[in-house]
Amino acid sequence: MVTATGVYPEYLEQIERLVERHLENFNETLELVVYYAPEHDTTDVFLFELLTDFESGSLEEQGDILEVLYGATPAFPMPDMKGNLHIILTSPAELHEAKRKNTRLYQELKTAYTQGKTWEIYTGDYSLEEVLK
């Protein structure tokens, strides 16, 4: 069910269904999934995913974690079919580097955590508190 505003945490049910599919595809390597709300693009949806087999172990060319944008579709409806689903994908080694460099995406996740705007959808061997320490 698409809500009128679509703001955090109104997509929780949709996110849970999506993550079920992610677990089907990456059951051995998906370690942490967090639904969160940064301060910008408040009607967009943000999902942080930590995978252990994420090749390379170094940040993207632009110096941050990989952020992929998915537009609204019938598979992930959003109000008026506008807005984006952002999936922020990383590995433990890459996240460590992002933390050391205090990158924009790392800062946004950390700020959302301190503001109580994070929801751990799935935890494997890692928790959000642990990765942000």
Binding site: N25, E61, T73
Partner: protein, 182 residues
Amino acid sequence: MASLFAHVWLEQALSDMRVATLLLQIAEADAAKDAGAGVEGHSDLYCQIASKCQQVVEKGIKAICLEFMGSTVSSHSVDRYIKTICLAPARRNDVVYYVQNALKSNRADIRNIIALVPRSPEGDKTPKNTEYPYHNASGSLVAPASRNAFLLNEIKIHYRLAGVILGRAKTSIALAKFNPTV
């Protein structure tokens, strides 16, 4: 969010596949000649076929990703393109879902072919690749074209995979026009 660039990657992948097919025909004839002479079948073209199949897989995956994602993926890593496709929201009857299942069920073969990307010899542990001399299990430097570096059965696995990925790329680009979820 289809990209204008998707079909360009697909076009090149189709050409690579044509070369792989032609090379496979020659290699099978080479191997048959060997067999006729009473030695184990071999062709120095096996590594070249593997190389072309690897290119088909990479370009096919990029075409699929561009078709589904537009130009929003900036990564150059094929593994990341695959994950980007596999994480996309999809319903059971979506093209994306069909592609995700193909990538999932061929994951091991995809990993194996991507690992063959050319690497210049360095130190004493250059991994097996399709282009440059590499170190075998006993530590000797061998040419990818040499006997036993690549085997026909192995090449056929790569060739099959290239066909599967290319098929999914063609379908994705053809059906995306009619599928509102892409």
